[in-house]
Symmetry: C2
Subunit: 114 residues, 2 copies
DNA sequence: GATATACGCAACCACAAGGTTGCATATGAT
DNA sequence: ATCATATGCAACCTTGTGGTTGCGTATATC
């Protein structure tokens, strides 16, 4: 028996920016790159993108604001790293919504069989 | 041992619109409602939103374009239903990115221990 | 010290996105 | 037939977002 509680609106408002950050092709590409190759510098990430460095930097800041990446300066370059915990948050949301849906289906089924 | 293959850019380009659709608070609220209470009509969903019916309709169409909901007219109302399969797609993406990240960490660790 | 590299910051621009009002249309209820 | 309900559609507005160019600054490298 699933114990899915309804998602609080607070958690929902928190999750939207997360998905929004993942909702851009260039940013998703960056996340994918960071997850596949590990930490990388800004110019390193620029190599894979088809936009200017400044655009990539903006995207990285959006990801950072969403908590999906963190960065630190190393010498003259800035190294970006994936924050897997935040990704898990997103997964958790989807899991809970899915669980809710399953529970709703269950209730509907029971109602019909009534 | 995880068998995480790198995500093809085709799959990535496919996933971004999905996350983008989930990246709006109002839309996420709608998805949450549909998952918690099952299928509902447009005006039904409007009750929980703080925007006009037309705005809600727009959001529903965005969700439909992303494949996250489907709808059918029933009498004078239109009933919207969650497409759980599409939600699973999003989860799958996050899973694979996470697996990639784990694999990358593993390699880094092995490299350091070298 | 001169030079190339890597980045930060600001101004600016075009367009998509979210939202609204207004009006038309179809369907259920009386 | 009449009236209320539920929706569809279009025009319009405002802001946010993704992108650019230009310039300044810090850090390696020679």
């Amino acid at each position: 028996m699933s114990s899915a509680r309804p998602l609080s609106s607070a958690r929902l408002a928190d999750a939207a920016p997360l998905f929004a950050a993942l909702g851009d092709p260039t940013r998703l590409r960056i996340v994918n790159l960071l997850s596949a190759s590990g930490p990388a510098s800004t110019s390193n990430l620029c190599g894979a993108a088809s936009v200017t460095r400044q655009a990539v930097t903006k995207h990285l800041h959006v990801l950072a604001d969403a908590g999906l990446v963190s960065s630190a300066r190393r010498g003259r370059e800035r190294i970006w790293e994936l924050r897997a915990a935040r990704l898990d948050k997103a997964r958790e949301y989807l899991d809970r919504i899915d669980a809710q849906w399953d529970a709703a289906l269950e209730r509907l089924k029971a109602f019909v069989e009534d």
